[in-house]
């Protein structure tokens, strides 16, 4: 099976000469024979890091390293070593490779598995450098082993014309026993050096011999240096030595002028300029040229050999229709000049951005090229590799604001700084959310308006161009879904792109099912200014040695929330304001809540690109306060919600009022009786029933117990206890109470009826049917007799013959109920007759009829309908009706 290369790379073959092993050490090398001992206390210890530069027609760098793995976790570092080189102009000689183990020297030079990998990690971004990585895999490495290796890289990019530019790191994350960096140069050549980064300078020892000058920098026992995250790119955490044969920026300029001096492209240029020439104003012409270079010339970097720095001629770029930054920059400069507009290429360091003035002038510090143009006495910097830039030049975004750059122009000898956008509107994004809440427990509609300008508008424009409407909808649904889990988009997002003024807005309409959250004492509105979150990296450790990067400077984020609450809300709060301010940002928050309108406005202004190390603790504290404000929440207390206008008291409320009135009246009797020492009579019992109807079981049972203490009304009190227990759902005890009451002689039809229900519901069908028969005999009331028959039919028992035969029942619907249980009528027919039996008592009849309908559907195994009817019987609120309590029993029994 073929070996597979790591992700983003592919294995390649290189010319035999490009990488050789076993070559002797060059004669000029000052070899270190005795390795210093490794330093302890770190997984990996570097015993030796020796770098020797040889400045010559064919420059060479010799590297001699020895590393000890003190722990298993570091075996990878010594087991696989990588050397990067450019085979187009460089070759590598691996002089030695060995393992030092317990006094043994194990030669691995021949056995090492060396693979050549071409990294293509940036190919999808159009970058192709041609660099090769030699991955040297050494097998059988163990904890305690030292890997010692020596190799030379010979050759230099010809684009530098033999001038020397190099760098060597000084500090490392692992302890280093001996660090040595030497440069060996002809005496007549002047190579400058500078230690870059925070820390003590290192003075070299100078040796002169055989017309050569050697500078040697050396240090022993360098401790491990731990880096810190999010350090501004121009601040060097680890020191390094920079070498350059140039001492003035004008030399770099002079060198670059030669690269950008290419022949004019001729006819192809005229074709490319056709659109620009038709533009009415100079400004429009520049915009057209920029648009052409950005959009019509695809970005692709083939930066091999000289072309790492030398642009391809514009004619070739126009013919290929692709190019990298310098190709595009040169093409744009050429086009602008052809239109009579002053323009120059500009070199930029995107990795450092600033701090270049602290370094030695050198072409290798730059990694990007853009364009400077003078248009109507104003200076503009354009990046032709960007996308999405159109319209007015003053409204275009500037991604290189604050960067120190070198303009390639005759006579230029200084760096200059690209200004940040002067108009804050160009780095202000706006998010406003307008919410309408028709009712607290109803879905709300949220209209989000998002507005980008400057760089953000350009990025959004380029990003949106790659999204389908469906993907866009999904993205906006997902982003809001984190705040409100139950939402849906009401429309596709609406995009309004003003390319001329470089503003892009998006409107999204959501339906949010639970915008208002119920809480104790009212409701809660939650919001989150999502355009303000995660703007900063907040370190876990606030004490730092280096400044903290603020990545998104400059920026202003505005957020507003306007909520129209339901009409019953009437708040009168004083508007409140809050602000957080420190060296890196300022945040202001204003809240107002008047009437039904609630408004929150927040502004976050990022005011610096870094926080100095000493100020980081204060910054961390400020971000905590900021995050508290970003967890937006407003409470809508019950006190600000107007109660609804008094509605006409309905049946349900009437029943409750009646029960309350009974409690009030009986309580007075009971209290008066206590004062006068008299018997409260049936008041205890009456109040017990009323409490039971209201679901106040404890009070009801307590009163029933007090009633039972009155020995002169035992039957009545037992019946009372039975009623109370029946109403609170304890049918077993209520059946016992009724049984004792009838055993003591109670013979009322109502008691027999209740006993029948209690018996039936506690599972004693025989006793229940017997009690029904007693009930029928105990009364001449045709309605009661009809109910007995209904219950008998309901329970599949033969029905009692009617003892009263004086015409039809006064309530037809009861006869229909009986027919229903005898399968002669439908529940609908029974219910239809309810209305025909007059308005008086209709609600009470409906409770009973719904209960019967529920029982009917239960018998037919239709539990859904049964449940609906039982629930309907309960919803009527006839709390004193036995059918209300029977329906509750049924619902409790339904699965």
């Amino acid at each position: 099976m073929a070996q597979q290369a790591p992700a983003g790379t592919r294995t390649v073959q290189v010319a035999e000469r490009a990488f050789t092993r076993g070559d002797p050490l060059p004669a000029w090398v000052d070899d270190i024979q005795n390795l210093p001992a490794p330093m302890k206390g770190s997984p990996l210890s570097i015993r030796l890091a020796d770098v020797q530069f040889r400045v010559a027609d064919e420059p060479t760098v010799y590297i001699h390293r020895a590393m000890t793995a003190n722990e298993a976790g570091s075996l990878t570092a010594i087991g696989q070593y990588e050397i990067s080189f450019q085979p187009e102009y460089q070759r590598v000689q691996l002089h030695s490779l060995r393992i030092l183990r317990d006094g043994q020297v194990i030669d691995k030079l021949k056995a090492a598995d060396i693979r050549f990998l071409q990294r293509e990690t940036n190919l999808d971004q159009g970058l192709y450098s041609g660099a090769i990585t030699a991955a040297i895999v050494t097998d059988d490495v163990r904890v305690g082993d030292t890997l010692e290796m020596a190799y030379s890289i010979i050759g230099q990019n010809p684009v530098f014309g033999g001038k020397f530019f190099e760098a060597a790191s000084w500090d490392t994350p692992s302890p280093l026993s001996l660090r040595r960096v030497s440069i060996d140069m002809p005496q007549q050549r002047s190579i400058h050096y500078r230690m870059i980064g925070k820390g003590a300078d290192v003075k070299p020892v100078e040796i002169v011999r055989n017309d050569r000058r050697i500078l040697r920098f050396e240090a022993r026992n360098l401790p491990a240096l731990l880096g810190e995250p999010y350090v501004p790119s121009d601040v060097q955490t680890y020191r390094y030595l920079q070498f350059s044969e140039m001492n003035q920026w004008r030399e770099v300029n002079q060198w670059a002028l030669g690269l950008f001096d290419t022949p004019p492209p001729g006819a192809a240029l005229d074709e490319a300029l056709r659109g620009a020439r038709q533009a009415a104003t100079v400004e429009d012409k520049v915009a057209k040229v920029l648009e052409f270079v950005q959009n019509d010339i695809r970005y692709l970097s083939l930066s091999m050999g000289e072309n790492s720095h030398r642009p391809y001629p514009p004619a070739q770029v126009l013919q290929r229709r692709y190019g990298d930054c310098k190709d595009k920059a040169l093409l744009m400069v050429t086009m602008l000049r052809a239109l009579g507009i002053e323009a120059q290429p500009v070199l930029v360091s995107t990795s450092l951005r600033k701090g270049l003035d602290a370094m030695l002038p050198s072409p290798v510090v730059f990694d990007h090229a853009i364009v400077r143009a003078r248009v109507q006495s104003k200076t503009y910097y354009f990046d032709p590799t960007r996308l999405g830039q159109y319209g007015k030049l003053d409204r275009m975004g500037q991604v290189h604001g604050g960067a120190q750059v070198l303009t390639i122009a005759s006579g230029n000898d200084a760096l200059e700084t690209i200004p940040y956008a002067a108009d804050p509107a160009l780095y202000t994004d706006v998010r406003s959310e307008r919410v309408t809440v028709p009712a607290f427990d109803k879905p709300a509609e949220l209209l989000a308006h998002i507005e980008y300008a400057g760089v953000a508008a350009e990025s959004a424009r380029a990003g949106l161009a790659n999204l389908s409407t469906q993907q866009l909808s999904k993205a906006y649904e997902a982003s809001m879904g984190r705040r409100y889990p139950e939402l849906s988009l009401l429309d596709d997002p609406k995009i309004d792109d003003d390319r001329v003024n470089n503003r892009l807005s998006i409107d999204v309409r959501y339906r949010i099912d639970k915008f208002m959250e119920k809480e104790d004492g009212g409701w809660k509105v939650s919001y989150r200014p999502i355009n303000m979150v995660e703007q900063f990296y907040v370190p876990d450790v606030a004490r730092r040695d280096f400044p903290l990067l603020v990545p998104y400077y400059p920026a202003i984020h505005d957020y507003s929330l306007d909520v129209s609450l339901p009409p019953e809300v009437d708040a009168h709060y004083q508007p409140s304001q809050n602000s957080v301010r420190n060296g890196a940002f300022a945040m202001s928050e204003a809240l107002s809540f008047t009437g039904r309108e609630l408004q929150a406005k927040l502004r976050l202004q990022i005011t610096a690109d870094r926080v100095e190390a000493a100020a980081v603790p204060e910054f961390v504290g400020a971000t905590r306060k900021l995050n508290e404000s970003l967890q937006g929440m407003v409470h809508v207390r019950n006190g600000v919600i107007k109660t609804a206008a008094a509605a006409p008291v309905d049946y349900k409320q009437n029943m409750l009022n009646q029960a309350e009135a009974i409690i009030k009246a009986t309580s007075r009797v009971i209290n008066d009786a206590a004062l006068t020492g008299q018997d409260a009579g049936g008041a205890w019992c009456e109040r017990a029933r009323a409490y039971a109807w209201l679901g106040k079981s404890a009070e009801a049972l307590k009163d029933a117990a007090r009633a039972a203490q009155q020995q002169d009304r035992v039957k009545e009190n037992l019946a009372c206890a039975g009623d109370v227990r029946f109403a609170i759902g304890n049918v077993k005890d209520s059946a016992a109470d009724y049984a004792r009451a009838v055993a003591l002689g109670a013979d009322g039809a109502d008691i027999w009826m209740r006993k029948a229900w209690s018996d039936l519901y506690q599972g004693s069908k025989r006793d229940g049917l017997a009690a029904l028969a007693h009930a029928a005999k105990a009364s001449d009331d045709p309605l009661l007799q009809a109910r007995v028959r209904v219950w008998q039919a309901m329970n599949g028992a033969p029905t009692e013959p009617a003892t009263v035969k004086n015409g039809p029942l006064p309530e037809d619907w009861l006869a229909a109920a009986l027919d229903m249980f005898q399968s002669q009528k439908s529940p609908e027919q029974m219910l239809r007759l309810i209305a025909h039996d007059g308005a008086n008592g209709q609600e009470t009849r409906l409770v009973e009829a719904y209960f019967y309908a529920g029982k009917f559907f239960l018998a037919t195994q239709d539990k859904i309908k049964a449940r609906v009817y039982f629930q309907r019987a309960i919803d009527k609120g006839a709390i004193s009706s036995p059918y209300h309590h029977l329906a509750r029993l049924e619902l409790a029994r339904l699965p």
Partner: protein
């Protein structure tokens, strides 16, 4: 590594226990974890697992199969990666991913796939010394050690993430179905006599139960809407408004016309209620045939119960309203000659009669309010007026 992969085999199809989630990972860690998950071939495992595992019910099985057939490896990786991401640094995960793509690492991954019958191929291949060294290097990777140590947590997190994502995945299709039904509801609620029959605009998702259920619900709603429109058309034809107008209250003929119209309306209303009841029954039967899972059916039954509850209340309301009209006619008949039309308004000889009339009118107003409230519940037959 082997053990870890096995733990995750069922991640896409299993269910997770409640456990506190791992700390949040950085975007770099998440990106690295995605690359690692791809290197581990977990999407392939997941796809296999989804297509070969039966869910707790038919609907879940359909969803899992659907995912296995429609979701890209990148999406599956994005679901699985967060469980790993916080347990190792991005650099460590990238190193591990790189090694998994080495000769030995790749063969080990493929052997794992073969062991789980995901692919054909050697289940216990012989490794060359170099490959063995690579596999040893994989074992020694800090990321691998971290994953092994946190295996239980990772497995639980992966299951939880997968479960949440599976739910979201299904809910997206459900939303599509609900949107189509909502669109249909718009058509049905505004349906008037003479309008074309409402149509369901729904692209079947390929999830049989969901598709069948959506179509069944749509058909039911169309039938109910048609029944309602037919009833409304009939009610309109009875000229209820004219026959129950105030001027009819003052003459015997007017009252007789009112009673006739009321009787027709009552009969029609009862027929309508019966028709809807029958339709409801057929709908429930249909649902039982398309949704075999009792739990899913139970969830739908809540909706059916709610719809039925509205029907019951509507029936009560309409009967009450017709009864109130009927009693108003009774009242007018008993006061013939004592109530007159004056300047387009009823005039009462006796103030007490005015009180009775106002009481009846208040009752009708209350019932009309109730009717309007029922209409807002959406599925009420009172919707289209």
């Amino acid at each position: 590594m082997k053990r870890l992969i096995f733990l995750l085999l069922c991640a896409m199809s299993g269910s997770a226990m409640a456990q506190s989630p791992a700390p949040q990972a950085s975007p770099e860690q998440l990106a690295a974890a995605r690359r690692l998950v791809v290197a581990m071939e977990l999407p392939r495992y997941a796809r296999y697992s989804l297509s070969h595992t039966a869910g707790p019910d038919r609907e879940s099985t359909e969803v899992m199969l659907h995912i296995s057939q429609h979701v890209s490896d990148a999406d599956l990786a994005a679901v699985l990666a967060p469980a790993y991401a916080s347990h190792a640094s991005a650099a460590d995960m990238d190193r591990l991913a790189t090694l998994l793509k080495s000769g030995g690492g790749r063969r080990m991954v493929l052997a794992n796939l073969a062991q789980q019958n995901v692919i054909d191929g050697p289940k216990a291949p012989l490794y060359s010394p170099a490959e063995q060294a690579e596999i040893r290097a994989i074992g020694a990777q800090p990321a691998n050690k971290a994953f092994t140590a946190a295996g239980k947590q990772i497995a639980e997190d992966a299951k939880r993430n997968a479960q949440a994502w599976r739910t979201q995945y299904y809910q997206a299709y459900q939303r599509q179905a609900m949107a189509a039904l909502a669109d249909l509801a718009k058509q049905t609620t505004t349906l008037k006599p003479g309008d074309p029959e409402p149509r369901l605009h729904y692209q079947p998702a390929g999830l049989k139960t969901l598709d069948d259920m959506t179509i069944a619900i749509a058909n039911h709603r169309i039938m109910v809407a048609n029944a309602r429109v037919a009833m409304r058309a009939d009610l309109d034809s009875y000229n209820l408004r004219q026959n129950l107008a105030q001027e009819k209250m003052v003459t015997a003929q007017g009252i007789a016309d009112g009673r006739k119209a009321l009787k027709l309306a009552e009969e029609r209303m009862e027929r309508y209620l019966r028709a809807i009841d029958a339709q409801e029954g057929m709908f429930r039967q249909k649902l039982q045939s398309v949704i075999p899972d009792q739990q899913s059916l139970g969830a739908l039954e809540k909706g059916i119960a709610s719809e039925y509850d509205v029907m019951v209340r509507f029936g009560e309301n309409q009967r009450g309203l017709l009864d109130a009209y009927s009693r108003t006619l009774d009242f007018a008949e008993s006061r013939l000659g004592k109530i007159h039309m004056q300047n387009g308004q009823l005039a009462f000889d006796d103030d007490a009669d005015l009180g009775v009339f106002n009481t009846l009118r208040a009752q009708m107003a209350k019932l009309a309010d109730e009717e309007a409230q029922l209409a807002k519940l959406g599925t009420s037959p009172a919707t289209a007026k």
